[in-house]
Symmetry: C2
Subunit: 595 residues, 2 copies
């Protein structure tokens, strides 16, 4: 096992303590009064704006009890709003005490709410936790209110706050990274139009320097900051304790200094400095005079996986696919009604661990039986745990972090014999998933141009799903990675090497949920005879796991769709069968039969 002695990465506890919320809010208000501010902002985010934060940064959960992956608390002397998006509207009501008012965000912006709730006064914030863009949006809504940066007031009142993480940093081997970090530094520094770029995203730093970290769960990244100089040097700011195992990996181009020296180093920079306003903390942005604002220059190079990263992903997916096939064979062999959602999660993680290559799960497995499958971001806890019953759908969305790649796969599985409604919906979702899988498209298009193709089969029946069709995925990095998306909001053109998920779904509230997800990678499409478009792309499929044939109404498929499905299953059998034994092998052969 790579890290930790626990038997399981995933836990099923409610970790927050909402009953403490009122007292903690009172303590915060006392600190606000002492600091002379009338409001204080408590975001879920840390200084690195990622999806996961360390225990040290769980300020929002500590204060309010709300454990979602995005949100804000705005504390005033007499009110406290908890801002959560559509995913968390039900959850927040169950998690926070009455002193907190849930606010529908982003429909209601922080600025508008504050403007109404606090006619005048000073709004305090921790400048490490607010990006330049967020600060601007707030300032625009509150033109005549002072926004005052100050030390974090939650940290002042949180007695037993865990220390910032000091997770070990590891070298990402060159044969998996595919490009030496010295070459990456040269390539990207030479592309800068400014004299230096500030890098605050941990996965950007990890990819650039060919390192991985262990400061937060699920994302193998180290916390730290970096300055990429146009002359080809990198200054990394990060605790020395984390680096002990790195030896001379960095070489002469990279200098390391304590994170406490970062702001001074920024201030000492000469020439034009580039920041990404979407993610650069105000603590940094406020030091710079007329910075050049541009997207983090590492985002696009990182998104375009090189040959080694793609090959790593293929290997990780074969290993992961075999684990899932063992899990699915096991699942089918259990007596109906004998399992709970948690049993499912444990068995699946156990199969991944049994590969002896699992470094982490890539997110909390979603295991939703029956109506729980319709909760798009469901995470099972001891409290919500349902029995997996006969004639239900079971939705399992999960992924593994392996040193050679990050996986993310959803399969929806028939338990017993679900009805015709479920089968019809499943087949319509599958048609969308196949449409993307077999698509060819001209160079230059982005996710927004293609998203409808995954939905039209559902639309024709008055159905749809309330999330994007796919997100970018990292190479042993974050399972949600930009800048490309397969969604109406995806404006970045697809380029060869980009890995994305293809995961249409359908959710009937209170009844069932369906999602089918493979990872795919953009590649050049070889020219067809008589092709007239100069350059076309297509998707290479990375995920090889059967799609449940018991849920398919074959009459609804076109011949081309059926061909795709049968070819896919033949390939699944050819690739995965050599990796599994016994009952799983038999199960696989049956699950991959042509229809």
């Amino acid at each position: 096992m790579f890290k930790g002695e626990a038997d399981l990465f995933q836990s099923f506890e409610e970790t927050a303590s909402p009953e403490q919320g009122p007292a903690r809010l009172e303590a915060l208000r006392a600190a606000m009064a002492a600091a002379g501010v009338d409001a204080f902002l408590v975001p879920r985010a840390d200084a690195h704006q990622g999806e996961y934060v360390s225990a040290h940064d769980e300020r929002l959960a500590w204060l309010t009890g709300f454990t979602g992956s995005a949100g804000w608390c705005v504390a005033l002397a007499d009110r406290a709003g908890v801002f959560v998006d559509g995913r968390y509207r039900v959850q927040v009501r169950a998690q926070v005490a009455d002193v907190f008012e849930p606010v529908d965000w982003p429909e209601v912006s922080l600025g508008d709410w504050i403007a109404e709730a606090l006619p005048k006064g000073i709004v305090g914030f921790d400048p490490w936790l607010l990006s330049l863009d967020q600060h601007r949006a707030l300032a625009k809504k509150l033109p005549d209110r002072e926004l005052r940066a100050l030390d974090n007031l939650v940290d002042q009142v949180w007695q037993d706050q865990p220390a910032p993480p000091l997770g070990e940093i590891f070298v990402q081997p060159l044969d998996l990274a595919g490009e030496a970090h010295g070459e990456k530094i040269d390539r990207i520094s030479q592309s800068l139009t400014a004299d230096a770029a500030i890098i605050t995203l941990p996965d950007s730093i990890a990819w650039l320097l060919n390192i991985r970290g262990s400061d937060i769960p699920r994302n193998p990244v180290p916390h730290g900051f970096a300055i990429l100089h146009r002359d080809g040097r990198v200054s990394l700011f990060c605790a020395a304790e984390k680096l002990v195992g790195l030896g001379d990996h960095f070489g002469p181009k990279v200098s390391v200094a304590p994170v406490e020296g970062f702001l001074n180093a920024v201030q000492a920079l000469e020439g034009r400095v580039q920041i990404d306003p979407a993610t650069c903390p105000m603590a940094v942005a406020a030091l710079l005079n007329d910075p050049h604002e541009a997207q983090d220059p590492i985002l696009l190079p990182k998104a375009r996986k090189n040959a080694a990263e793609l090959e790593g992903s293929r290997q990780a997916h074969l290993r992961d696919g075999a684990a899932i096939v063992r899990f699915l064979a096991w699942l089918d062999a259990q007596p109906v009604g004998s399992l709970t959602e948690i049993d499912v999660v444990k068995q699946l993680e156990g199969e991944r661990r049994a590969t002896n290559a699992l470094r982490d799960i890539s997110f909390e497995t979603i295991s939703g039986a029956g109506p729980n499958g319709a909760i798009v971001h469901y995470r099972v806890t001891e409290k919500t745990n349902r029995k997996v019953e006969d004639n239900q759908l079971l939705l399992v969305d999960s992924g593994g972090q392996y040193v050679d790649g990050t996986t993310d796969i959803t399969r929806t599985i028939a338990i017993g014999s679900p009805g015709a409604e479920e089968q019809r919906a499943f087949t319509l979702v599958l048609k969308g998933m196949i449409a993307i899988s077999r698509l060819r498209f001209p160079k230059g298009l982005a996710g927004a141009d293609l998203d409808a193709l995954a939905r039209v089969a559902l639309w024709q029946e008055g159905m749809d799903y309330g999330h994007g069709t796919g997100h970018g995925v990292g190479a042993y990095l974050s399972v949600h990675e930009g800048p490309q998306r397969l969604a109406r909001t995806g404006k970045v053109p697809f380029e060869p090497g980009m890995i994305i998920s293809n995961e249409p779904g359908f959710y009937k509230e209170g009844a069932f949920g369906i999602r089918i997800e493979n990872l795919i990678a953009v590649e050049e499409a070889p020219a067809l005879p008589g092709q007239s478009v100069p350059q076309m792309y297509r998707f290479e499929t990375l995920t090889w796991v059967p799609i449940d044939l018991r849920l398919i109404d074959a009459d609804l498929l076109t011949e081309a769709e059926r061909d795709w499905l049968n070819t896919y299953h033949a390939e699944v059998a050819a690739r995965i069968s050599p990796l599994v034994e016994g009952g799983a092998k038999d199960w696989l052969s049956q699950a991959c039969r042509a229809i």
Copy 2:
């Protein structure tokens, strides 16, 4: 016949005199020198920024010989660039003399070209012909050059320039307009956030006041300007000669003044004034201090056709469809090889004229045989006229202006027996056209979200087309009307009543062109059993003309596509058969057979 004694709206002459270009350019340069400017801008556009201009405003064609519907000449003392877009790159070389340099626009902007060609000096322009947005773009590229507004120098040197048009204005009957102009004025003026809105688009003025005009070809609009006051008054600026037939149509809310008084009236406005920067001439914008910039407030109400406008369009399409069916029956009866492209145009216009309801054609009919069909914006002239030969495709894109509606239809017709390549391409185009025709989609989506659905069948074979899938269409107004588009650039959500074209295509340069076009209107889709999306839209088909079955490879169609086609043809037969006689009736019944 409604207007004019000519037998034909369309002409086949080259109207420009390119051989005169060098002398005219020299005259312009003398005027530039006298006026003290180093450059002068000559756009194709008039003050109303439409697609058609009057003979008075044909400055670009007069100067350069270039007759395209968009473009610019930038005249310097020693060079003269003619800026044309992708449609006109071949045409411009054939039309202009050597003293004019064709420039690829908008890839090369006017500002960038001037910045390089004229290191310093004064750039003169006619402030009526440059919009605020255009002026801004130019000023941004030329920060240290003076842009000087002055009287049009082309008008100074153009000896026999035709006078501005004084075309008669007619009332658009209330039963066709569907809403009294007084009600429109109240509704839209009450929606203004400014105290007055400047309206410079002729079709906005025509729609608002329920009038139509005859100042320019093809678009039945009057030239003029208007001020819409928030208190529910309209000031119309327009030559009194045009209004003699209107009687007391306008009523008390509308006051009329000569167009010469417009700028003074703008200057005298009190309170906040709203302009559309995309189309408002600099002559107007320059008078206003801090205007409110917003889209022309009439665009969206005009785009959402009311019940009377939709019913008018249905009637116009039945009448137009019958004329086209007569034309198609005639075409099939001619001996192969006996016709030219011009014969085709004449016969088609003749059938439309024979309805005794045709007020104009809605644009120059595109009649492209064989390789000419691959020129997307082809207009046949005596010089380019081709024989329609055996075993070719003939592409005919045409439309009529009727008092109750504007039509626009493309059919691609088999002459003899075109080959399997043409048949396969035609069927792929048809699949895209059917995909849009039978689409249901959730409320809130725009053309950009749907455009791919018309292309995916082509994409799968490495094919595509280089234009949008569809444009908005007016109600006895412009055949190209915004703000919605069915294209990657279409960001305005579709709303019930919007009429758009559905016209995918495929073009093989030097060989053949295919386009299939119906007009369709957005409507609410009745809920399906079990529908989960709250509100869905679909398209009502307006165009009823057979699609050439001889060009369809039925094996490439899905069952759903074949069902759509057979249902469409059954409806064409049911609607059009009662409107045609004899041979056309027989032809129609055969052309509408089920496959």
